[in-house]
Amino acid sequence: MPLNALCPGSASFDRLTVHEARLSLLLRLAQTPAGARTLVAAGLFGMLSKCHYIDLRPDDYTAAPPVVNDALPSASTRYHHIIMPVLRLIDSIVAQLHTSDRHVLVQAAEFFVARRDWALAMLRDRLPTVTVPTLEQLKVLTGILAQVAAADSGSGPATAATVQWRPALLGLLGKYGAPRQWLPRLRPTTPAEEARQQAAANVAAGGTLNARDD
């Protein structure tokens, strides 16, 4: 849902709307090899390295109401709308060029090395709850890192980055390998997610009752 629909007329939401529109255009361009190549040549990774807002991942996942149903999305929702287009853009560029332009993988690795604290905080995933937005962020981030790791040649930025990520990635495997370990902690962030979770709980409860009847 476009954020301006949630809070029209606010300067902050205007900026978020522009960000989403801009990234949508860049993502469209990045979905072709020529576009991805031109974006890299235009200094995309260098510019992203300067973007301070990427680091501002909020830790209000526990403080925020579990379901956002008023006009103001939580800071984590706003951050999600900012960071997901950025991650998808990087993912698209890396996917387009990872076989033909290996130096792009090195540039991507350099970006993540420059953003080491942010990337590790995402990968360590120490938030007490699990939400669909954080899972979506992890899905795209780990997908990018898997491709960047292919550029690991034993030295250089890609190697440095993969060495830093490895323990955190293994931690994610242990955390999310078995759904029963994390599904109980999955917290809805929208009314639709809450309804789906309630429906799933009802089905599970029905199954339990049926088993008892047998």
């Binding site: 205007d14 900026r15 522009v18 529109a21 801009r22 031109t38 200094g43 510019m47």
Partner: protein
């Protein structure tokens, strides 16, 4: 695209959406003219430069509504 226009949120978001639609249309029509126009390095660099938007950090503040 005029760089000044990108500084105005209202104009910029409409301009980006319009360019996005033109790229889609150009792709569907198998006419790469619009893509070629956008992919000129100077134009793309101007758009990439706007990524470093300091106001976005303000949008993440708890009181971002006002």
């Amino acid at each position: 695209m005029c760089r000044d226009a990108l500084d105005s949120p209202a104009i910029a978001s409409v301009a980006y959406a319009l360019l996005d639609a033109l790229v889609v249309q150009s792709s569907r029509a198998q006419s790469p003219a619009m893509l070629d126009l956008l992919l000129q390095p100077a134009r793309l660099s101007a758009i990439v430069a706007t990524l470093n938007d300091a106001d976005l950090a303000a949008a993440l503040r708890p009181d971002a509504r006002t």
